[in-house]
Amino acid sequence: METVADTIHPAIPIAEARETEHDNVIQTDVTGTVGNPFVDTPRMTCRDVYVYYGDTCAIKNASIDVACNEVLAMIGPSGCGKSTFLRCLNRMNDTVPGCRVEGQITLDTTDIYHPSVDVVPLRARVGMVFQKPNPFPKSIYDNIAYGPKIHGLTASKGELDEVVETSLIKAGLWDEVKDRLAEPGTGLSGGQQQRLCIARAIAVSPEVILMDEPCSALDPIATAKIEELIAELRTQFSIVIVTHAMQQAARVSQRTAYFHLGNLVEVGDTDQIFTNPRHRLTEDYITGRFG
């Protein structure tokens, strides 16, 4: 079945991407992705990943690694499959009817799509923060405590209190909410709610945190706070963040991946991607010729 991407861009196979003015050699490895998708000590690896919604192919042949203690940014025009790819990493796509994932994705060398893998502990290890803040309609305390409770991470109430406190401290929200833990989480401001969601994700001590446009509903000040937070969280977790704001990607990430119509076009160090992209599509996007 021919997909939209094939028909629109038949003339630009990735291997033929034209040389830029810079003297870089265009890399054309087996995955068809330009740049350096792989790292030495990966936390997660994705190999030859295809994602289908029914018959439509939303991600074609993506191979990429997520390193330990890094922020990997995913950028690309709307509808190119960033969210789709992100949701493969903790199998959130399982809940979408008709969605099928092929290829191999591993977390610490275990294949997460293997039939013997249980998604419940997987999602505890790969946490997720969504585009729209979505706290539970419960108290601030219960929002954070819910994850540790269902996973049985704490033995006593005191320990749970401690987890709640450290998660809120890490998320930079403790000072603002420490006196109102019993109030509903939905009563916080948008930016506070998003940080609450981040605190909720880190409360179960995941290894990887996936963030899908976490700042798209926030004002610049709240955004700056969350970016600061991401930079701090990097010391403990691997973070994969989808963003539409290229400056944000440039500010927070170490590596950047560029998606285009379901293809993983280019992956590289953030500095290099933004100053010296190797693929014409990446360059066009970064210089603002699309989107």
Partner: protein, 425 residues
């Protein structure tokens, strides 16, 4: 954007169009208010008619008798076999010594309800030491006397057309002037079952029957309906089979209720052998009828829970069932409860299927459980509305008042539950 001449915000055309828009809004509002007003007028008319014709049933005419429980009335060891009727008659004759002749005596005896004898019997059974003593007692008057006192008998009619004859009228007046006739609160109406005698008929049997029936209905249909809705909405795979189930549930909600009655008769009574006329079988039939309503309401309220909540729960590693029970269900519960109460209110007012399973029988005893024969409130209303005696008219209205009271109570509970379980966002 450069506004063109004709759409300029202050051009006459624009202002005209604006006015037209406001006019449309205004007329729509008026129509809405009119509709509400008409609906309210109907409601007020209905309620006031029922209240006007029903409130008198809560009062009843009583006659004071001086009775003497001579030993000769109790020839048998068994006190229940005593001649209580004779005691009442003797008391009446002593009040009106001039009465003689069979016809005259019968007319006199017809002023007092048969309930008088039953009342004496109850008293004697409770306390046999009363035998041999004399005392005064208020007993219910016959329904015709009651109707006369309530102004429902026109004494200007020719005597042959009246239920109260001239002689009786005279005696009633005598009793009234002697302070032996009084309108009192009609306790009987609330404490007894149905009766052939309007003055002895009460609502308790039907109310209890309805209550037991609804208990069965609620206990069966709420858990089953909610479980079915949760399964269909959250767990069932999306295939033709579940589509088929969905279509059938929607169709079931539209099936006339009498069909459920026939089904209940065929399956529950004839096949399973559950005793007929009981709240148990009534509850089963009404469960069949209520289930689709509850399932549809519960599914709608599950659907209205935003998907972001499910994603949030799944995202922290909750399993499917934890997501549903910890997060989705609490948010959907108020809607489910409302749907359930609406279903129950429907079941409470349902008559047709109950007719099919024998709950239309004339039942005097007050049911003590789920397997005692019982009537139900709407069926009782139907039976009384069908009775020829004038006095049953007001009983019918009174029974409707009680039914409406039940409904209002249930709706109040629904509102309370919704408020209580509602989660603020």
């Amino acid at each position: 954007m450069q506004p063109t001449e004709s759409t300029n915000a202050f051009s006459p055309e624009f202002n005209q169009r604006l006015k037209r828009r406001y006019r449309a809004e205004q007329s729509f509002k008026l129509m809405g208010i009119g509709a509400i007003f008409i609906a309210l007028a109907f409601l007020v008319f209905l309620l006031s008619t029922i209240l006007m014709s029903g409130y008198s049933a809560f009062k009843q005419t009583y006659i004071k008798l001086d009775v003497t429980l001579d030993k000769e009335y109790f020839p048998d060891e068994d006190l229940a076999k005593g001649d209580f009727q004779g005691i009442v008659k003797a008391s009446l004759y002593s009040m009106f010594p001039e009465v003689s002749g069979r016809r005259d005596k019968r007319m006199l005896n017809n002023l007092v309800s048969k309930g008088a004898a039953f009342k004496l019997m109850d008293m004697v059974e409770a306390d046999p030491k009363l035998i041999g003593t004399s005392f005064s007692i208020w007993v219910p008057a016959k329904d015709d006397v009651d109707m006369l006192m309530k102004g429902n008998i026109d004494m200007d009619q020719p005597e042959a057309n009246r239920r109260i004859k001239d002689k009786q009228y005279e005696r009633i007046r005598t009793l009234e002037y002697g302070g032996r006739l009084q309108m009192r609160f009609n306790k009987t109406f609330f404490t007894s079952g149905d009766s052939r005698e309007p003055e002895l008929a009460g609502i308790l049997s039907a109310a209890k029957g309805s209550f037991y029936t609804l208990v069965i209905t609620l206990l069966l249909s709420f858990p089953m309906g909610v479980a079915a809705a949760i399964y269909l909405e959250e767990f069932a795979p999306d295939n033709t089979f579940t589509d088929l189930i969905e279509i059938n549930i929607n169709n079931l909600a539209a099936v006339p209720s009498i069909i459920f009655g026939l089904l209940g008769l065929a399956i529950f009574i004839n096949f399973w052998g559950i005793p007929r006329s009981t709240p148990l079988v009534g509850g089963l039939v009404l469960t069949l009828m209520t289930l689709p309503t509850i399932i549809i309401a519960a599914r709608a309220s599950l659907k209205s829970v935003p998907p972001s909540i499910r994603e949030a729960a799944l995202g922290v590693g909750a399993s499917k069932i934890q997501t549903v029970f910890h997060h989705v269900l609490p948010l959907a519960l108020p809607g489910m409860l409302t749907g359930t109460i609406i279903g129950m209110a429907q079941a409470l007012g349902e008559t047709a299927p109950l007719l099919m399973i024998g709950m239309v029988a004339f039942i005097v005893d007050i049911p003590g459980g789920f397997t005692d024969p019982a009537a139900a409130l709407p069926v009782q209303i139907y039976l009384w509305a069908d009775s020829p005696e004038r006095a049953f008219t007001e009983k019918t209205s009174a029974a409707i008042i009680i039914l409406l009271g039940f409904l209002i109570l249930m709706n109040a509970v629904a509102v309370y539950m919704r408020k209580k379980f509602e989660i603020k966002w």
